[in-house]
């Protein structure tokens, strides 16, 4: 369409090659039968088999999933409350401090968050383990949830809530029946974001974990420090696969919902005339 578009196409091709080539190589070489990761010696799925036999990894995966489910659920509840307070809460004492505490964790280096939480847990004598990791993950991911949810709360029409209140709903019912369904997509994506953040976290978990609760990133970290290993490639491929399927299906669902919403709007307009 424009003359310079060869430049745009080149920039996009090279850029996406840079973003995706490392992961593509990782996936391909996870099916390599050689122990030498960078030398291709034929197709094999044996590293997946060995991975499934490796109990240390499986135990770590179970702990990681438990932590992720617990912390992302807690973070979603607290983060949605915080978003509601920020957008609809009006004035209250210490509002500036509150919004500061919501935004600061987003830009805080992980080493500082991890260190400070560890010092707190030791200071109050809380034994480190699954509980402390859940507390730590909830704290930083609730801020992400609250940013996602508040952007949705800002953009929606407040008169809908007021109409529900006028029609006799209690504030809680108005929230449950009107507000919640409207902000639900944001709440769900907030939960997913919190979940992936928790699955992914190495630094904060390293600070707040105890000896009996090794999460998957900590396990992967101690393995990859020794160099490339085919088992880790297999594990990475599984994780990349899950994320890819998840993100693509989420975008298809949201696309279908958008189309449906558009059809509803058109039907409503036809009905009105």
């Amino acid at each position: 369409m424009r003359r310079a578009s060869w430049f745009n196409v080149t920039a996009l091709t090279l850029g996406f090659a840079f973003l995706y080539l490392p992961m593509v190589l990782l996936v391909i070489y996870s099916f390599n039968s050689s122990k030498l990761v960078t030398v291709w010696a034929g197709f094999s799925t044996k590293w997946y088999g060995e991975l499934l036999q490796n109990e240390a990894f499986l135990d770590a995966a179970v702990i990681t999933l438990k932590v992720a489910v617990a912390s992302s659920t807690l973070a979603t509840i607290l983060g949605t409350m915080a978003a509601y307070v920020l957008v609809r809460g009006g004035r209250f004492l210490g509002r500036t401090l509150f919004s500061g505490m919501i935004y600061a964790p987003l830009v805080m280096p992980e080493v500082i968050t991890g260190l400070s939480l560890l010092l707190l847990f030791i200071g109050i004598g809380l034994d480190r383990g699954v509980l402390t990791i859940v507390l730590a993950h909830t704290t930083f991911s609730m801020c992400y949830v609250s940013v996602v949810v508040s952007s949705r709360l800002v953009s929606f029409d407040r008169s809908l809530e007021e109409a529900a209140l006028d029609l006799g709903c209690s504030p809680f019912d108005a929230f449950r029946l009107v507000t919640l369904p409207i902000i639900a997509p944001a709440v769900i994506s907030g939960w997913l974001l919190a979940f992936t953040l928790s699955l992914d976290d190495l630094v904060i978990a390293s600070f707040t974990t105890g000896p009996s609760s090794t999460t998957l990133p900590i396990k992967i970290w101690s393995a990859v420090r020794l160099g490339v290993s085919p088992e880790i490639n297999a594990l990475s491929t599984i994780m990349i696969g899950i994320v890819t399927v998840g993100v693509i299906s989420a975008s298809l669902v949201s696309k279908r919902n958008a189309v449906k919403a558009q059809q509803d709007m058109q039907a409503a307009e036809r009905g009105a005339t």
Partner: protein, 293 residues
């Protein structure tokens, strides 16, 4: 009603106070304490009474940081690495964001998803993927040897170059997305007007497109610079022992040397350095939000 409002505000508020703000004060307190051979490895503790505790405070750890040149070298080298990676990410990210904003309408959601997808995949795995590429017998060296460009493998792994590549790679989506958002909002008739008035395409780009995407550029740069400054995983995995970054120093001070007071002092200084870019970033975001409404 009022009880409910109180509850709604109090629960997240108290949570953040207890698990975000108070821990910082503990870090600050310990940075003023002395190292002790016990668990926890610092003195004094609250048990001795507040007055005694405050009396024992001193700035010894901060003085120590200035006398040992490891620390200020690490701060400087972190600043340098974060700054250069930000510039590199801008040079790679701007053309990509520009290409996306100029792409046909029906491609844009797919391109957008392709930028966001790496963000959802494990950060650790994405950094790890580069180990197999950059190492001496890695894919890049194999490829370059095969094509005959080089005759001996390049030593990229365990150098600062590898850290630059790693940071640009992992934080590129943070650079692209705000710039794309700014370019997407840009009214194209302005560029046409500039060209009608005699600007060349290049001149129109520098005089119209770049200034109008400024807020996106600023946001993207801070979103890369701020996390890069305290980065731990990338320098540890790709940088080897030769790369000095403050996040790594803090981690090692804490876990390997078990010197908690010094680790806390390192954290306090890092936080002080970060306050300036964080405030500038917030201001940019506020100005942008005001411009939109």
């Amino acid at each position: 009603m009022n009880m409910r409002r109180f509850f709604l505000i109090a629960v997240p508020y108290v949570w953040l106070l207890a698990l975000f703000l108070i821990p910082f004060f503990i870090v600050f307190k310990i940075s003023l304490s002395d190292l002790a051979l016990s668990i926890p490895p610092y003195t004094p503790t609250m048990k001795d009474g507040i007055g005694q505790m405050i009396k024992a405070f001193d700035f010894e750890n901060f003085v120590f940081l200035t006398t040992d040149d490891l620390y200020w070298k690490a701060y400087l080298s972190s600043l340098k690495i974060a700054l250069f990676s930000t510039v590199l990410a801008l040079l790679v990210g701007y053309p990509m964001a520009y290409g996306m904003a100029r792409a046909p309408e029906e491609w844009r959601p797919t391109l957008m998803m392709l930028v966001i997808l790496p963000f959802w995949t494990s950060f650790l795995i994405r950094v790890y993927a580069w180990v197999g590429i950059l190492s001496n017998e890695g894919f890049l060296n194999q490829f370059l040897l095969w094509t005959g460009v080089i005759s001996t493998p390049l030593a990229i792994m365990n150098t600062t170059t590898a850290v630059y590549i790693g940071i640009v790679y992992t934080y590129l989506p943070f650079m692209i997305l705000p710039i794309y958002a700014a370019l997407d909002r840009l009214d194209e008739s302005l560029i046409e007007a500039a060209q009608d008035l005699g600007c060349s395409r290049t001149k129109a780009f520098w005089l119209v497109t770049v200034p109008l995407s400024r807020s996106g550029i600023i946001a993207g740069c801070f979103l890369v610079f701020i996390p890069a400054l305290g980065e731990f995983v990338i320098p540890s995995l790709l940088g080897g022992s030769g790369t000095l970054m403050i996040g790594k120093v803090l981690f090692e001070e804490f876990f390997n040397n078990r010197d908690w007071p010094v680790a806390s002092a390192v954290a306090v200084i890092l936080l002080l350095i970060l306050i300036v870019p964080i405030i500038l970033f917030q201001r940019n975001q506020q100005r942008q939000a005001e411009a939109e409404t």
